[in-house]
Subunit: 236 residues, 2 copies
């Protein structure tokens, strides 16, 4: 009964390179529009606002659940202002927010997932909303079998509802599902409620600002070099 059946992947940072993709996307867009701005600083500040914005949803349930697209759209406008980026319209901010739908995968992601899909159910388990994750898969050719999103559970990771809710929707016991992530805190929360765990290091995720997750710091079931290595270790 505890045979591994499904692999769920943290997505931002683990499967796709959000920082490199957003910086490249915004730099190119700004050149076309002749808008000046420190896009590297904006992307880093934006990511800094990511966890606090989800915490606010968690702590204020009376506001209702807001999707990641909604949270990102709310946070970018004041961040751009604080960085002296001027003259952007509402449509421009919508475009920048939709950058999270156009992130590129790490080089091993698509080859590794394609091999894993032959033997396992594969899907994201991400704080991104469903539409974002579907667009991302179309953009990058991620061959998911199913889309698991915080939006389905109206809870953000690391709330237990996300991990347990995903197993339940698949009709599986928690131990038949493994979370694959580049973030030790995500794995700790999944392990606590009975999922199997796999750490994959992404040591350039935060660029020069990376301060943690250089290596596994828990007792995870698998520690792999990358997703292709995981496919090899699982016999795919």
């Amino acid at each position: 009964m505890t045979e591994l059946k499904a692999l769920l992947f943290d997505t931002f940072g683990t499967v796709v390179d959000w920082r490199g993709s957003l910086i490249a996307d915004f730099t190119q867009w700004a050149q076309g529009k002749n808008v000046m701005g420190d896009w590297v600083a904006l992307v880093d500040a934006w990511r800094g606002a990511y966890k606090p914005s989800m915490d606010a949803v968690r702590k204020n349930p009376e506001r209702g659940f807001l999707t990641l697209d909604e949270l990102q759209r709310q946070s970018i406008e004041p961040l751009a202002a604080s960085l002296g980026i001027k003259g952007l319209t509402a449509k421009d901010y919508d475009y920048l927010t939709s950058g999270w739908h156009r992130l590129d995968p790490w080089p091993d992601s698509v080859p590794g997932l394609t091999r894993l899909k032959t033997k396992f159910i594969i899907g994201p388990l991400s704080n991104g909303n469903v539409g974002l994750l579907v667009d991302l898969a179309k953009h990058s050719g991620l061959p998911w079998d199913v889309i698991m999103s915080a939006e389905l559970f109206r809870h953000y990771k690391p709330d237990p509802e996300t991990y347990l809710g995903s197993a339940k929707l698949l009709g599986l016991a928690p131990a038949q599902v493994m979370l694959v992530a580049a973030h030790n805190d995500d794995l700790a929360a999944a392990q606590k409620v009975g999922l199997k765990t796999c750490f994959v290091p992404r040591v350039t995720e935060y660029g020069p600002h990376q301060v943690h997750d250089f290596k596994a710091d828990g007792d995870w079931d698998y520690v792999v070099r990358d997703i292709v290595d995981l496919a090899g270790q699982l016999g795919c």
Copy 2:
């Protein structure tokens, strides 16, 4: 804003041949077990219990939402008894119920969906639960981008929550989503809440018991011969 972005497919009957698949599956299984029974009659009676069992969920919300797997498991045991099928264990009934996870596609389904996926988001929109639909896709090679299931909305089709909830999760307006179905009543309910509609005839779905849905009987946006024909009409 009303450019078509996503195609959602009714699944049982429209994409997969539930009747032919279940009859073949049960007949082969019974030969291996040396169990006697009229499997054709059982499959037809079981399908007869399908809509009433979902209506019971709709009319008795205090019971909570039961998945299609749960409803089918409840209904098969008394139906088998009424047909004089004897000696089956709980595990046998579990196996027969899981037959809905092993249905085969109509011959045009996979080639048509593969072409449509190049241009559109494609997914089931089915009363089957998420785990069932994922297993079905793995079994038959259905190349879905996303799984839309009654289970996500805790409402069965034709309740409007299913059609509108699917569009909302995709971040799309209802008119950017088209339901493809072999059942006129499903299309009528989708059209009523603003989705586009496509009828595909499956005139052998119910075998000799087919009494309706031989042809389109509403003002649908598309009427096609099969899913490959739809791909051609949509320029895929």
